[in-house]
Structures are given as C-alpha cells and as structure tokens.
C-alpha cells in the first residue's frame, strides 16, 4: 500500500518530505519503546509511535525506517522535523490511538515482520 493510502486510512497529516507520498509500505511496527524497535523490528518501513523526541528519528534512521507516524494526536517538534528532513524520513501524525491505527493498517493488509 502506498503512503498516501495509509494516511487516508488513519486520517494522517504529513509534517515532512511531502513529496514522498508514493513510498510503498508493506510492513510496519508499533512501539513506544525504541529499545524494542532496535532489538526486534525487522524490515519495517513504517513505525507507529506515541513517543516524541529526536531519538525516534535517530532510531528510524538506523533501522532504515522511512516513515514515522505519531499516534494519539502527538506532533513532532520543529527540531525533529528539521532532523527528519535532513535524513529524508517522512513524519506524519494521526489523532487515532495506537491500537486503532495498527488495527486499521493490519486490516488493510500491512503486516508486521518483527518477531
């Protein structure tokens, strides 16, 4: 599924890299604990999180995660957007909860490969 369809599903808003809406998303992971993303996430292009700090962007960079969606109405700070733009990482946000976002994406065929 392409990113713009993902965003439509969860009523998401883009904060950076608006030109990247055609990124193909096959799998995703959802976590507030970056330690777990580092240790358990496999080839996921999308991270859903409720955690808002610059290390979320760093973690995404190290893990080859191309898109980070902040759930529960959280918004990235200007400094985070700047860092993400520099790294070419898409930041988006949704007012929906983590559970609802994950459920909607899973139902639409996005899988989780972290195990």
């Amino acid at each position: 599924m392409v990113l713009c369809d993902v965003l439509k599903l969860i009523d998401g808003k883009l904060h950076t890299c608006e030109e990247e809406v055609d990124i193909y998303i096959k799998s995703a992971c959802g976590a507030d604990l970056m330690s777990d993303v580092m240790a358990f996430s496999k080839e996921n292009a999308l991270l859903l999180t409720g955690l808002v700090n610059p290390q979320v962007i760093r973690t995404a960079e190290m893990m080859d995660i191309k898109v980070v969606i902040f759930v529960r109405g959280k918004k990235p700070t200007d400094a985070m957007c700047e860092l993400a733009e520099e790294k070419g990482i898409v930041l988006a946000s949704s007012d929906l909860s983590m559970f609802t976002c994950c459920g909607l994406l899973y139902e639409a065929g996005i899988v989780g490969t972290g195990n």
Binding site: D32, M34, M38, A39, N53, M62, D64
Partner: protein, 152 residues
C-alpha cells in the same frame, strides 16, 4: 623480507579512520557519530545489510556512553574487509558484566526510560549484530566496547 613486511602493513592499513566525541547527557545529539559512520558506509557502497548491523551496534553503544558513561569517544576504522569500532567512556563502569548482558537487565534511570530507552536490550543487541564483540569495564575507570563487523 622487507617487501613482504611492507605488504603486510599495507594489507592491514585502514581505508578510513574517524574519531568522534560523544557528549555527556546530551540526548538530542546522541547518535550523531553513528549517523556519520552510516553516511560514510553508504558513500563507500557497503552492503545495506552490513550498514544496518553496524548502525544498530554502534548506535546502541553510543547511547550507552551517553546514558551510563558521562559521554566518551568513538574510534572507527574501516578496513578493506571489516569495520572496527571502539566506544569508550570514563564513567562509573559496569559492576557485573555477565548480569549487564542479560536481556531486560538495566540500570538506566526513569528519565531515560521515559525517552524510550533503557530496556536492557542494548548490550545483547550489540552482540547480536556484531561479528566480534568485546566488553571491558573497570569500576570508577570506565567501559570499552569493541565491535568488529566483517564487510563480506
């Protein structure tokens, strides 16, 4: 004989050497060194799987130096066949290395856990991603983390 020795020296000489300061308690900057190494490896055309393993191992070690070691330094050498990383700090050291290696064991303060880290997965994750991993620590002297990743 001299020629052979010279040849050996050439063979083990690193292609690239970098040294980074890891600032103490600056969580916003943590990961800058790993990010820079990642950029270099990408420019050198290293296999993406190896870049990811290197990034994960180095970033975890860098975060540990920030969280536990009052900052430190990272020395990175890239050879034709491997990447060698040494991250060291002059922090309080690790009391029980065996215990520190257990997944889930952590001495990170709540402030670090609130930032999404300190789950006690870092050291085992470094070991998992490195081809060679060595941890040396002395109480009140500091900690050294040696990471080697083969390029092929």
């Amino acid at each position: 004989m001299k020629q052979a020795l010279w040849g050996q020296v050439i063979k083990v000489k690193s292609i690239l050497k970098r040294e980074y300061e890891i600032p103490a308690n600056d969580f916003a900057l943590a990961g800058e060194a790993s990010s820079n190494v990642r950029k270099i490896l990408t420019q050198l055309g290293v296999n993406p799987v190896i870049i990811k393993r290197t990034s994960i191992a180095m970033y975890e070690a860098e975060l540990n130096a920030v969280i536990h070691g009052n900052g430190g330094k990272a020395l990175v050498e890239i050879f034709e066949d491997k990447i060698q990383i040494l991250i060291y700090d002059e922090g309080p050291g690790i009391e029980d290395i065996e215990l520190a290696m257990v997944e889930g064991y952590s001495t990170a303060p709540d402030s670090i856990r609130e930032m999404g880290f300190g789950a006690g997965m870092g050291l085992s994750n470094i070991k998992k991603n490195a081809d060679e991993f060595l941890l040396e620590s002395e109480i009140n002297k500091g900690t050294k983390v040696y990471i080697t990743i083969a390029l092929f």
